[in-house]
Amino acid sequence: MEVGTGKVHRIAGPVVQATGLKSHMYDLVLVGEEGLMSEIIGIAGDKHIIQVYEDTAGVKPGEPVKETGAPLVAQLGPGILTSIYDGIQRSLPQLVEASGNFISRGLFVDGIDHKKKWEFTPVVKKGDKVEPGQTIGTVQEQLLIKHKIMMPPDKRGTIKEIKSGNFTVEETICVLEDGTELPMIQYWPVRRARPSRIKQAPTIPLRTGQRVIDGFFSLAKGGTAAIPGGFGTGKTVMQQTLSKWSDVDIVVYVGCGERGNEMADLLHEFPELVDPRTDRPLMERSIVYANTSNMPVAAREASIYTGITTAEYYRDMGYDVMMTADSTSRWAEAMRELSSRLEEMPGEEGYPAYLGARLADFYERSGRVTTLEGTEGSISIVGAVSPPGGDFTEPVTQNTLRITKVFWALDSKLTQRRHFPSINWLDSYSLYDLALEPWFSENVSPDWNKNKRRAMEILQENAELEEIVMLVGSDALPEDQQLTLEVARMIINFWLAQSAFHPVDTFCPYKKQFDLLEAILAFRDQAFGALARGVPTDVILGTPSKDALAKVRLLEDYEPELKKVLAQMESEFKTMS
């Protein structure tokens, strides 16, 4: 397409109308004398409607609008890991260098460093036939992370020349017979999903180290989870915790319309914390998008797409990737704001009618796949939802729940009791449950699934009993029900509760999760045994080993202590009368 220039016609906030353009939908244009990064989002008659990723103050009618002839793309290549971007993949540290502590306008910085040289090692040779997505060479991007340089997804051919040595991402490292010159960098339009070969069934759990999640409402690798909750119920802490400890190769953290201080906290912690699987700083496997609430809404709208595109790129290399989006509600609100400036017909609560479709398109980009090359990779998505007034019947929560397979319902009543994570164990669910059971019984314990169901039943019964207690007090209950209340309390306080800030308890391996629950159930069985023998409940409830059990989870090397507590418990029950 020929690249031309048009004129600004009208400006109202982040939405600009221009005349004299030939650009297509979603093409990038540069608005005004300052060349503000913008995107075509509508065409009406002779006017193009443009959303501007930067503040439009001072822009006047008549100023130029320059076309670029291309849509918003992500820059993909070595150097993405450890980066901190705004919503349109501008490096934030580089923006600090370019314009100081406050973000100013009209600046363009590359998503990845175009000057840095990387050592490229080819894995194909002259004469080889290469297919879309095939690896042609590798770069050691981080100490433990190999970056595959792949054929673009829409390109095949025969290698005419392949180089080896140190190159920038822009230099040609490969020439095909048809004359195509390939550099390491790829440009991919963010609104288009990168292709893969086959979507596979989710059968492997994503280990998060969070007992309530792994134990009760597990996420599969390649799965999707929604975590809705009112303000302060723990969405951000949970997403940061998952980003820290999940067993994935790459984490894409998208801070979409949230707090600056939170991002500062994360940027502070990630380089210091160590990935338990690799002993390397977490930052080495992370990509952070920080488009905070006070940064332009159009860039906020784009951040989800830029984020998922980088996630897909690493998936294509055969990695397990997790993307967290905090918060998808702010993304939806950005859509609403832009839509209302376009004077579109509003749907429910002013959101555009295509809200559900956009959410679905985004979550559809998750999945465990066979890549074009035939390897296996996955993207799991965890999306926070911030419902107004904490009311889950609102459109963003409802549209999200229609798509995502796991629902972690945050409960402000639990938050008020300072029970963390405040995931309600009665309302939440995981639709991967059954699909993952075989994996757990094979890889952790044959009793994993049975124990989980037993614990769930106790909590169900507990919920019913609590209603009675509210009316008559617990002393009025029969003895066996009093025991059930106590066992439920143990499950809730010793097992479901887990502080994200405790150095040890923040991450709990599968075996430990299993052992702790098994121990509580062992207490339960012996307690009911004792009750059947006629031991009074207050004697049973006074068992000292019960309280000792509470602190086991706080120990790194918990097994000796747990053994001791269990032995003590057994002898206490034996002698009890």
């Binding site: 009208r10 400006i11 109202a12 906030g13 109308q17 503040d55 103050a57 001072g58 822009v59 006047k60 009618p61 008549g62 901190i84 934030l92 540290p93 923006l95 600090v96 100081g100 502590n101 406050f102 973000i103 100013s104 009112g230 303000f231 302060g232 801070g255 319309g257 707090r259 600056g260 201080n261 991002m263 500062a264 940027l267 920080a290 905070t292 609430s293 006070n294 940064m295 809404v297 702010r330 609100e333 609403r336 704001e337 209302s340 509003p346 609560e349 002013g350 911030s386 107004p388 007034g389 904490g390 009311d391 008020q416 300072r418 509210m470 007090g473 002393d475 800030f501 309280d547 509470a550």
Partner: protein, 460 residues
């Protein structure tokens, strides 16, 4: 180049529609002169070759088709110099204390560019406010934004003033500079604030912006922007630690709603504009610390919850942006407890980074958690007692119930001029916990009990 136009085509509420202009920039500052020569200011909201929409800050009263409009070619800026400290200004930044206009060293755009997240420093310096329910259980740190959610007729202003008077960093003599923005508060309330600032000498280190209840509502949209631009200047140019208090955010949001209605926008929840979250975020996010800078901005927005409803969009959206909230409780107020801060729904999200050894004291987290747990349990038990009577309670439950009452009287309740050190606050907490058997202190490590529990301390 700045021509005057007399081409007003329509006036609707606070909006002017002007035709046949040269190209006018979005958000440009506009000066309007009435036929009688009165000057007003406005800002461009929508601009095209055909029509320019201007919102008028001082209200459109007195404007007519013959009024003239001048587009200044520049966005709104705040004149700033060190002399601004100690001044009282109107809600749109004009001197209100009879003093001279501010001779600017610099002029800053009031829209406020976003702090680059990569340039932010993590806030972690403890601020002692001298109020136990804040310092002990909802600790504030420098660079935080912690709103007070209150209701009509509650003493939120007294709490804010007490914080402004007493706030200090531990071990540093230097106190905070205060930027105070009043939005739509009554003349009487404003007088109280001013009197207190004068009584305590705080005025000398304060900049005050006053938009009162009878001032134009649209002007309120400027007030926090002017105040925060001033705060950024004091913090990041002059290295000061700045405390920004603005009250009442509810009035600010009402002005926003009014503007939205005038522009016939599609309303969001309960008639407030869909962009209210973003707009509030732009104000609240101007708190923080920048790497390599000495100063900081800490914010205390005050808002009254319409109908005491925390799910109302104004407190709800605020809660989604700020780093916690302090809730003023009508129930505690009725009981005669001051400050009536209910710690249960209150939260300081940055507390963890500002407490413990090296910040306050090593037992801080544990004591706070323990106090919190039994106070919350005690409050729940009150509900049960109302049904089954006190007699039905176990011995343990009775202790917890009594603990909750004592907690309100001794820990929450304090004088309006009582400035407790954090160590006093923690010790009051320990004295209350002493009433419970030691085995009930499950949230406190044994070694901390041995070190700080009054029983062991007396033996020393």
């Amino acid at each position: 180049m700045t021509k005057e136009y007399k081409t007003i085509n329509e006036i609707k509420g606070p909006l002017l529609f002007v035709e046949k202009t040269e190209p006018v920039g979005y958000n440009e500052l506009v000066e309007i002169r009435t036929e009688k020569g009165e000057m007003k200011r406005g800002q461009v909201l929508d601009t095209s070759n055909e029509i320019v929409v201007v919102q008028v800050f001082e209200g459109t009263g007195g404007l007519g088709k013959e009024s003239s409009v001048k587009f200044t070619g520049d966005v709104i800026k705040m004149p700033l110099s060190p002399d601004i400290v100690g001044r009282v200004l109107s809600g749109s930044g004009q001197p209100k204390d009879g003093g001279p206009p501010i001779v600017p060293d610099v002029e800053r755009e009031i829209a406020g560019a976003a702090i680059n997240p990569a340039a932010r420093e993590k806030p972690r310096a403890f601020i002692q406010t001298g109020i136990s329910t804040i310092d002990g259980t909802n600790t504030l740190v420098r660079g935080q934004k912690l709103p007070i959610f209150s209701g009509a007729g509650l003493p939120h202003n007294d709490v804010a003033l007490q914080i402004a008077r007493q706030a200090k960093a531990l071990g540093e003599a230097e106190s905070f500079a205060v930027v105070f923005c009043a939005m739509g508060i009554t003349n009487e309330e404003a007088q109280n604030f001013m009197a207190d600032f004068e009584r305590t000498g705080a005025l000398e280190r304060a900049v005050i912006f006053l938009n009162l209840a009878d001032d134009p509502a649209v002007e309120r949209l400027l007030t926090p922007r002017l105040g925060l631009t001033t705060a950024e200047y004091l913090a990041f140019d002059l290295d000061m630690h700045v405390l920004v208090i603005y009250t009442d955010m509810t009035n600010y949001c009402e002005a926003m709603r009014q503007m939205g209605a005038a522009r016939e926008e599609v309303p969001g929840r309960r008639g407030y504009p869909g962009y209210m979250y973003t707009d509030l975020a732009i104000q609240y996010e101007r708190a923080g610390i920048i790497t390599g800078k000495k100063g900081s901005i800490t914010q205390f927005p005050i808002l009254t919850m319409p109908g005491d409803d925390i799910t109302h969009p104004i407190p709800d959206l605020s809660g989604y942006i700020t780093e916690g909230q302090l809730i003023i409780s009508r129930e505690l107020h009725r009981k005669g407890i001051y400050p009536p801060i209910d710690i249960r729904p209150s939260l300081s999200r940055l507390m963890n980074s500002g407490i413990g050894a090296g910040h306050t004291r090593e037992d801080h987290r544990a004591v706070s958690d323990q106090l919190y747990a039994y106070y919350a349990e005690g409050c729940d038990l009150r509900g049960l007692v109302a049904i089954v009577g006190k007699e039905a309670l176990s011995e343990r439950d009775r202790l917890v119930l009594e603990f909750a009452d004592a907690f309100e009287q001794k820990f929450v309740n304090q004088g309006r001029d009582e400035d407790r050190s954090i160590f006093d606050t923690l010790d009051i907490g320990w004295n209350l916990l002493q009433a419970l058997p030691e085995t009930m202190l499950t949230r406190i490590d044994d070694h901390l009990i041995k070190k700080y529990h009054p029983r062991y301390r007396k033996k020393e």
